[in-house]
Each structure stands twice: as structure tokens, then as C-alpha cells.
């Protein structure tokens, strides 16, 4: 975890959160989250019935991986807000990198809050998740 008080506008961070995403990790996420949608876990259903090239990751798996990177940086207990839009699908084999930057230090109720923009991209540089995270600088 970073010394939060040292954060300044413009600071950036980057973290690889998964390399060569395996179908098994998607299944692992399905089991832990309780979302067993066969689009994510059932290759036959995903390709033959739903018409996708393969199964694909739950948006919430990508958001979860993104959130872990944010939490490692700011401490999960300091998060005030975290939100994303899902902008592209994540497929087995993808390698994902989370990029964040401090866009603003705002005054919050319990002291200053660092506002990050957060973007997760695949190996081709395509954004799969776009969002924000706000963290209290009390840590």
C-alpha cells in the first residue's frame, strides 16, 4: 500500500492483474460469486446457443480484478466509491492491465479524498473497464 498522504494529482499507477486468463479462473469466480451464467462457464452453450466465439469473463470478474489492484494501492478500508462501465468483453487468454491516475484531491466528510480514474486494458490495448475509485487519504 502506498503512503496515501503522498498522493498528488497526476500520479499514475499500473498493475497486471491477470496473465493468460484461464477458463478455470472464470469457473472459480462463478463458484465464489454465485453467478453461474453458462455464458461464462459453458463453452458449448456460449458458442452453439448464444453465438459467441467462446465463453467470456463475468464483467464482475474484471471489476473484481480491477478492484484488487485499487485496494492494494489505497487499502480497501479507505475506499469511498468505486464504479465502472464494462466497455468490452474479456476472453480466455486475455492479459489485463489496470491503469489508474489521480485526477483530483477533493475535500470529503472525513478529510481529503483522492479521486482516481481507472482503466483496465487487454494486451491489444483495448479498454475493457472504464471507471473511477475514490479513496480517503486518512490511511
Amino acid at each position: 500500500m502506498t503512503a496515501l498522504r503522498e498522493l498528488a494529482v497526476g500520479q499514475m499507477f499500473e498493475a497486471v492483474v491477470v496473465t493468460d486468463l484461464k477458463r478455470t479462473q472464470i469457473v472459480q469466480y462463478a463458484g465464489a460469486s454465485g453467478d453461474y451464467n453458462p455464458l461464462h462457464t459453458d463453452e458449448i452453450y456460449a458458442t452453439k446457443i448464444a453465438g459467441y466465439p467462446s465463453v467470456f469473463a463475468h464483467g464482475m470478474l474484471t471489476m473484481g480484478l480491477t478492484g484488487q489492484a485499487v485496494a492494494r494501492l489505497v487499502g480497501a478500508e479507505n475506499l469511498v466509491r468505486f464504479g465502472v462501465r464494462f466497455t468490452a468483453q474479456v476472453w480466455p487468454g486475455d492479459t489485463l492491465t489496470v491503469r489508474g491516475s489521480v485526477v483530483r484531491i477533493a475535500d470529503g466528510e472525513g478529510g481529503p479524498v483522492a479521486e482516481f480514474s481507472v482503466s483496465t486494458v487487454n494486451a491489444e490495448g483495448r479498454e475493457v473497464v472504464s471507471g473511477y475509485a475514490h479513496a480517503r487519504l486518512a490511511g
Partner: protein, 145 residues
Amino acid sequence: MAARRFPVEAGHVLAFARALGAAEPPGGLPAEGDVAPPTFAIASAQFDPEYRLRPRPGAPWHGSGGDAGLVTEGAGGLHAEQHFTYHRPIRVGDVLVPVTRPGERWEKQGRSGRLRFREQITEFRDEAGELVVTARSVSVQREAS
């Protein structure tokens, strides 16, 4: 998310964190009071007895078995956005009560038809009735035009 009661259990938090590639916690299990991963509220689906994305005994399931599965209509669409506001962190040992209400609905013209967006808001309160997390989720369904 219509669980009546969402107990934040150490083993569940461990399995969820592992699925997100987290390192093993010291001592092998998250401790009472440890902060759950930021997206953990979503796993309250496990405690919804009627969650529609979990196969249930005796109920039809659209995934493959002997055949490739079933085409379903209006299965809820794809997840477009997810937002969390943390009034305090979710911690191991919490027992949360989620209450979901519908939010706004809107439409947009997409490249391959109309897109229908639907918002749902879930408030997670602790046993004392204090708000812990507010979750806002947006799903999108494409309608061929």
C-alpha cells in the same frame, strides 16, 4: 440481489479473493474484522434462494447437458455498469441485509438495434440498520430493430 440475510463468512471471502488472484491470507483464513474485497457485495447472490443464475433442483436450466442448451429470452441482458458507495467497509463477521429496488430505465439507439438500460439499486445494511454499501447496477438488453 434479494438475499434476506448475507453473512460475511471467512471461507466465502477467502474463495472470492482467491478467484481474484489474491495472495493467501496469513493464518490461512481471513480474520474476523478483515476487510472484504471491494466487489464482495455482489456475492450476496449466494444467499438469494431464488437467484436465477444458479441451477436449482427440479427447475429447468438453460446451459448444456445432453444437448447444447436452451435459447432464453429476456434473461436480464448484459452487465453494463456497476457502482459501489462504501459508507463503511464490509468486514468478515458482518451480517448484512440487502434490499433491492428498481432504479431508472432508459433507451439508446445502438449500431445493431435499440439498447434498453435498466438500473437496480441495492442497499446493504448491518444488523444495527446502518447503511454499509449502496450498489447500483445497470444492465443492458439489445433489441434487434
